[in-house]
Symmetry: D2
Subunit: 370 residues, 4 copies
């Protein structure tokens, strides 16, 4: 069974009500970075705006942005901080089209009526059956490898373990990774592992705490800071066996956002949080599948800027978001913060990555259910 893109059901804008609804109202930005009152804020769903009597789909989108009309022809979703004097901002908060704004929540599926008054096990937790989710994810990633843009959001735990690190490198080398969003710690401990076999001073295979191991990441960071980029550092020291190296070799873009937890930082880390957001959004703008592993900060940041759809060659297709963490609270938080369309796996990301690699790359696994 192969993955097929679900068909997108456009709203029927020929319905009389849509013909009668007014065009959007636009108000001018009078102060840089400040929206006019009653601005419309975007959701994660496809949104249509009536401009010059035509309903136009906003794309690329993201939630919690305002919408700016350019030349009364084009629309752009803009963060508050990016608003310029004179920008014309869409006003209005109804969602049904009556303000010229229509939020389309059922583009990819009809609402499912849940009729049972008494049922067990309605949430998603460690006890949820993940077999089909894995199977569907395997198929999706095979499809996305060729036709999509797979964006990974990685917490440092990915490089704390030998097998998961190896598996991640293998996924990069085999085309399943199109961009990585992470922080200083992921890169630091990844390179620490490559050079010294440890993460935070602990051997990533044997779990041994190495003498003076608390120097390891500081030494790596300090060495790297002699260079103007991680690429140079990696090439100069001939480093291998690491996610960062695999990305360099395979031309996979990596955004490293700085944070207040950082030592160093490494060269290439973006110090300004909002410049980092802009850099991350260059990828979520293109992302068709997003996998968030073991990081609340980067996952929620990415979730905030990832819409539930993309328009690619005039076709509207869904964006799939996966959140993987050992804690129900962590995976549910993404949903609590507005990223409603997420599929969560409650498990250790070590097992998760290794599973993907074995199935997609090693390809030698006969699923037990075949």
């Amino acid at each position: 069974m192969k993955f097929k893109l679900p068909l997108y059901k456009k709203p029927d804008f020929h319905l009389p009500k849509f013909l009668e609804y007014p065009n959007i109202t636009l108000h001018r930005v009078e102060k840089i970075g400040v929206a006019p009152d009653y601005f419309h804020a975007t959701t994660i769903f496809p949104e249509y705006y009536k401009l010059n009597n035509r309903w136009i789909l906003l794309a690329p989108s993201r939630m919690d942005c305002v919408v700016v009309a350019l030349d009364n022809e084009q629309l752009e979703a803009k963060e508050l901080r990016r608003l310029q004097l004179g920008d014309m901002v869409v006003i209005g908060r109804s969602k049904d089209g009556s303000d010229g704004i229509y939020i389309h929540t059922k583009g990819f599926r009809d609402d499912v009526a849940t009729s049972e008054t008494f049922a067990f096990r309605t949430g998603r937790s460690r006890e949820t059956s993940y077999s089909r989710d894995y199977d569907q994810l395997y198929e999706l990633l095979e499809f996305e490898k060729e036709s999509g843009y797979i964006t990974w959001v990685l917490g440092p735990a990915v490089v704390f373990d030998y097998d998961s690190k190896k598996a991640m490198i293998s996924l990069i080398e085999n085309g399943y990774v199109h961009a990585i969003l992470a922080g200083n710690a992921l890169a630091a401990h990844d390179l620490e592992g490559a050079v010294l076999k440890t993460a935070l001073g602990q051997d990533i295979y044997t779990q041994e705490s190495i003498a003076d191991g608390h120097y390891h990441h500081l030494d790596i960071i300090n060495k790297a800071r002699r260079f103007s980029s991680l690429e140079e550092f990696i090439s100069d020291l001939n480093i291998d066996d690491s996610i960062m190296c695999a990305c360099v070799k395979n031309n996979i873009p990596v955004v490293l956002a700085g944070s207040i937890r950082d030592d160093g930082p490494l060269p290439g880390v973006i110090a300004d949080a909002y410049t980092a957001q802009d850099a991350m959004r260059q990828h979520t703008k293109k992302a068709t599948t997003v996998l968030c592993l073991a990081t609340q900060l980067h996952s929620i940041a990415t979730g905030n800027m990832t819409p539930s759809y993309q328009v690619i060659n005039d076709i509207v297709r869904p964006v799939s978001i996966f959140s993987v963490d050992v804690s129900e609270f962590a995976v549910n938080k993404l949903r609590d913060r507005g990223t409603l369309e997420v599929t969560s796996f409650v498990t250790n990301i070590q097992d998760f990555i290794v599973n993907l690699q074995r199935k997609l790359v090693d390809g030698k696994i006969n699923r037990t259910c075949d």
Copy 2:
């Protein structure tokens, strides 16, 4: 690399102090089920008792029991409730031999000195590297399949997922399971899945909640109650595709301990908690490896009655206990309750079982690190 049993280092009872230490003191049980004051209570470690001037190793052991001397020749670890009038109980609470009781904590390894005053990551958590633990477990289970007694302690979550259930069945069929300790719920939902494809009314592959699904386990239980045993029920209805069936076919003993959460119960479930303990201990007495998956109640109960060693053909060998749960608290609790020698995996048991099955049975996985 093959697994090798670690050599057991006996205490050197030729040391003068051991020659000088007295024989144990014994006091008579005067009331059924009640020990004399100052009774010695067992730990999980090898314990030696001086009887007739010889130091005798207690075996089989378990923690929190009293020790009864039979004919001044043999020793038996007995739960308080099993004490009989006239039983001669070992008295004394020093551990160094001076009461005739020696607790030997370093039989299998010397105490490791940790010299670092400042180090990161000292505990075990979701961020621990599990690669080597998996590798060592694979080797151990290959060894134990032939030479040991592998006891599994299973929570119902094992049968809530299609793949993990299949994997468990495969491990049984291929010789990696010598006994199962579980409760009514495991068996009920296992059989529910076999007959109706659900667990608590939810499809174990598609996650769909089936209409009237809350009847599923009740119907299965009610049907089974017509029979005097699960074996009869399974054979009469020709049930397959389940852990319970695999156990019946392969003559693997299953102890089902009743609990106050049970519906039913199924035939064969042991209603009395202490009779159930006795039945469980028949297996922990022989167990050389214990794997506890996704159940606090049964894991701690089993941990309580599993010593850190067994004596098999006069050879003292360690018992390995593994605790697998998605919650640090759950896996650590086993240690907090005295089962000090446990190796914990913080992950979803679905992935854990599937990993074991793929490596041990499918055998087709080239480890990424080879």
Copy 3:
């Protein structure tokens, strides 16, 4: 503001459809402990059964039972295992009355329509605001103290801490506790604390691990086993400062259900899981408020046997269930297992109990929001 019982809205059985619906169908039990096929199983909601053309409310109820009609006049909810030969069991699985069975899910509140298509924070978690839940609980308990039956389900953690233990004793002494459901460990560590100031060998105030502390609970249990009841033990040794003593003094019934984790057990602990269920149900039959603290086993067991309503002096009133645990998974599990009407608090039960005591008994707290 005082707590007022919500009005119960009976179904309107004068509606033509209810007049037309048939009386229930009854089938005979042919084998002890086994229900006829297609038996009706109870939910937690009020259920009406048409007998002799009258719609009769089942009370007391509990979920996952079958319903037996006595003399075609009275109804009784019975666990499968209690079915007797000749019992006449209600057959049918529709819920709308068409089988003579009507499940009334909206007796106390209308279904709330949730109209927002895009909203944050829809679940209950550590981040939920608990201020009003506390306020409502304080009022409820004041009311229930006089007019209800407050049943507490306690895990051993309650007696691991000095303040929470003191607070619980105070709540008992001041009338806020009408019954306690617990296990052997609660009583053992409660008495250990009373006599030796520790729980599992650790000082419950200073956290110090006492030398040979692992003997503490065994010594207490062993001493108690000389007596035929905990009452005798307590009075003979003149024990005070404990939950068990406060219950003895105030004639508060305590059900101690045995489990496979138990050491001992203490006198009075019920060894048979299903006898224990029967003893527990004596209290859930009367319970109007149930508070479940820090025990999954006993909480889910109690939830299973607690209906969402009681009939007291011909008035139908709701039963309130509260589940308190530091883990979202634990509090949500109660709901996942069918106890839908639970209010969960994600916090440490130590703080929870102390809060109740300070507000209800000390009464000296000016709430910060007053």
Copy 4:
């Protein structure tokens, strides 16, 4: 009982070995922001450096910094990124003084020998008794109010609940807060609650989800962005009932560090992660007690830059760090990342803050144990 500062036990530098050990070695910084090889990195403990034959205590300190000697007289702990050309950096990694560097781990207490070979409950978890920790914290804060510098690190959950927010405001107004370190979200939802009674659109008392509530924080942020500072915004709109207002009124400094999760940001939020670190360190340099509530990012960042001691008026005193979170993993992570001297509370921060306020401010609580 009043809190008393523990006496600091200086190393005895008159011991012959200390007289013989050499002065420190210093190497020049040759590239901005890069340390020479074999640089010494600081720990959280008091560290002495031999300069001109005198052992000098490094103060203020923090971990993972390099040490720069100024004029061969004074020492400064510097982050890698702050190193200037020509800075003279301490070289050497032994800790016993033999490189002229002595790390003093036992200044405030001798190492406690743990002699028990078999004991229960050795970690800290939800089951730890917190009564004495609370009592000691109450006393400590009374002391610190007058004599210390109490720094709070707050996650947004603090303002998600009505009572905890009120309690925090009360603690500020009554002198128990000397600085707050937080992020954009804390301030945004705090002000959202003050103006609109919600947090992320949910009523902070009733838990109701308000229609169009997802606009609430965006509207507040957008309004605030018209002003050049939060102070102006608060004063112009006459906002009250909030942590930010209480800080403005009471001249309590607040550092708001930007992150990639931010909407907005609010005026005053520091966009650059490392500028934010510098601003935070201004407070940890003075902090004598640090309380970290419900935020992993800010807690670990703060932990990294907080030493275990301060020198105030030539007296060396310990710094107390408290970490409060409902998750064992979260509170333990601070320790795993090197902040070894932390006292953790596993509970909901709502209860924790309310407890402090009631005891310290309301003062009307008779502790149940009095």
